[in-house]
Amino acid sequence: MKKAIIAASLMLSVSAHAAIAATEIDWWHAMGGELGTKLEEIVAGYNAAQGDYVVKPVYKGSYAETMTSAIAAFRAGEQPAIVQVFEVGTGTMMAAKGAIYPVYQLMADTGADFDPNAFLPAVVGYYTDTEGHMLSMPFNSSTPIFYYNKNVFKAAGLDPEVAPKTWEEVEAFSNTIMETGAAKCGFTTGWISWVQLENFSAWHNQPIGTLENGFGGLDTELTVNGPAQVKHWENLKKWQDSGVFQYGGPGGGADAPPKFYAQECAMYMNSSASRAGVVANAKDFEVGYGMLPYYSDIEGAPQNSIIGGATLWVLQGHSDEDYKAVADFFSYLSSPEVQADWHQFSGYLPITQAAYELGQSQGYYEANPGSDVAIKQITLNAPTPNSKGLRFGNYVQIRDVIDEEFQNLLNGSKTAQGALDALVARGNDLIRDFQAANQ
């Protein structure tokens, strides 16, 4: 027994020694469940493929929790080398000049093999500065798409192969579906803020804020109380009252997926990364895919949708050796094989042209209908200043404000115009706060 213990401790110290030889870097992430398992698999693949560096993935909870703990760690001098930050945290991270190590600079300093032109502009455009430099490494980017229940469409006498293109059609289809009793409700949606306001605006080529949606500077203001958005929110309220639309809750809209899975609602809008979940849960029906609907009378629609998801930020305060490890790991992450694997598994967008082409040559998109809707949608037209993304400070809180004002609309305490005006006023206050703290 004693011998066994000695042998075991010897082995432990040997392996500990081996680990010291390699440079170890921490990667704090927010991928739980199946995505987390896949992420760990990718990292294990990297660690096994070479012997110089070891990446240690650490799950830190939700996106907000991960970002907050990384910031707290930075203040205490214990920050990880890499942290995954969601897209609404981009403004905060970008403004923290002394805390972040921009990716383009990191790649140049370490002499890593890095071609910024290999990345899909629609994805990286969200994360570049005004000079076109890439500040963070895209990892999981998605865009909202349209899902529908083909069986319900058939039962209602609609063509199951044709997704509604416009909001007028969504309304008409919903009415048919409800009148024939094929389903109880027309549609539901995840992410009111992201899908029914931000992407709605970009998709209709309407500005979300001044100064190119905030890309042009901290002095920006929200402008989402325009006639197009007011019309849409008015309709959503009207549809909620008549049962055509069912609200799925604030934030990601936790109640929305069950409504679609249980065939209560026939149509559903959510992230392209929800595709795996939809396919797994749609046991009794066939799923159809389409692009987001638009209003045919709004000029410029459909434009292109914008992304969400998260990128990897590199934090200051580590050794050159650590940064070499980060650069090497990033090269691995953006290689076509790793990218295509991650994209096909998760439904997130491929971040490089090569990964997309690899998927095409593998015949993946033909074998999996709906899996290329997202990429077609973000690249539908060349992005305009209204549709390349958004960049506002304190946006995490503004997202909450959007949910709150939408709830005020639905419970009848405000009109669409009133709710959106209040949203813009409160949002601008938060943007001013951020501007004051960062100037």
Binding site: F74, A95, Y247, P250, Q397, Q407, N438
Partner: protein, 294 residues
């Protein structure tokens, strides 16, 4: 009451003896509290790279912010409702348990159980029961013709968090009331009974006044509980929604500080909370514990 006085020979010794306690108080209470006060005068970016001293700007903003004033209001509503509901139900249960002859022990034990349930679990349980889509309570309410939806209706949401927060506290209050009831001399009740007072009359003229110190104590304790210890319940049920209608002060500190990363404002809010809890403690020590007469 006579207290024993100890006289120390050296003037240093008593300070040395309380030093460990003082050190703990300093490190875990005074130091962080001081940090919060200091931070409430600053405007900082989240990473702490740019800091400017802004005097009372964070407080000034706070007290003109309609959201914060609304939060103050609903905190008052919430704390009072929780105190009234949990004290009221606990009193009824305690009186019932006290009058029981058989099984009173079992009954008491069962009533104390909810106190052992973690607040987050209690929250999730009530959230399930009242869930508009799958909940049993919302289903029953719908049969009665009430369309329950706490994810959109502010009143429903408030009722939900009040019930979830009170439920746990009933056990705690119950124990105090039961002890209080058992401390009331039986002779008083018996004398009143002989004089012809019925059970209801006896309860209101004898039992309730004699319980008043307990009731006052519990009122303060429950208010403090509702204001400061219900974070988990709210986080698990409504997360402050809909449209901020259940975001009580403590929850708002979390939302603004940890989610929104507005550290200055969040610190100012904690200082306001600190003032409230100090006031409540002073009331409890000075007024409730010494001057309740009956």
């Amino acid at each position: 009451m006579q207290t024993k006085r100890t006289v120390f020979g050296s003037p240093v010794l008593p300070y040395l003896l309380v030093l460990p306690q003082l050190a703990i108080t300093f490190v875990f209470f005074l130091w962080p509290a001081g940090q919060a006060v200091w931070q409430s005068f600053l405007r900082e970016d989240p990473f702490g790279l740019k800091t400017s001293f802004v005097w009372f700007a964070n407080y000034q903003k706070l007290f003109v912010d309609p959201q914060y004033l609304y939060s103050l209001q609903i905190t008052a509503v919430f704390a009072l409702s929780v105190a009234v509901l949990s004290i009221g139900s606990a009193l009824v249960l305690a009186v019932a348990a006290d009058r029981m002859i058989r099984l009173s022990q079992t009954y008491t034990t069962l009533l104390v159980w909810p106190y052992a349930v973690a607040p987050a679990v209690a929250g999730v349980m009530w959230w399930f029961m009242f869930n508009p889509t799958i909940g049993i309570m919302s289903y029953m309410l719908e049969m009665l013709g009430y369309d329950w939806n706490h994810s959109l209706n502010p009143t429903d949401a408030m009722i939900l968090v009040v019930i979830a927060a009170s439920w746990k506290q009933i056990s705690y209050n119950f124990l105090f009331f039961l002890a209080g009831l058992q401390a009331i001399p039986a002779s008083l009740n018996e004398a009143a009974a002989i004089d012809g007072a019925g059970p209801v009359k006896r309860f209101f003229t004898i039992v309730l006044p004699l319980l008043s110190p307990t009731t006052f104590f519990l009122a303060v304790v429950n208010m403090v509980y509702a204001m400061f210890d219900t974070f988990a319940v709210i986080h698990a049920t409504t997360q402050g929604g809909p449209s901020g209608s259940t975001a009580i002060l403590v929850y708002k500190v979390f939302q603004d500080g940890f989610i929104g990363l507005k550290l200055g404002s969040s610190a100012a809010q904690s200082v306001v909370l600190m003032v409230i809890v100090i006031t409540l403690t002073v009331i409890q020590f000075r007024w409730v514990e010494r001057h309740v007469e009956y």
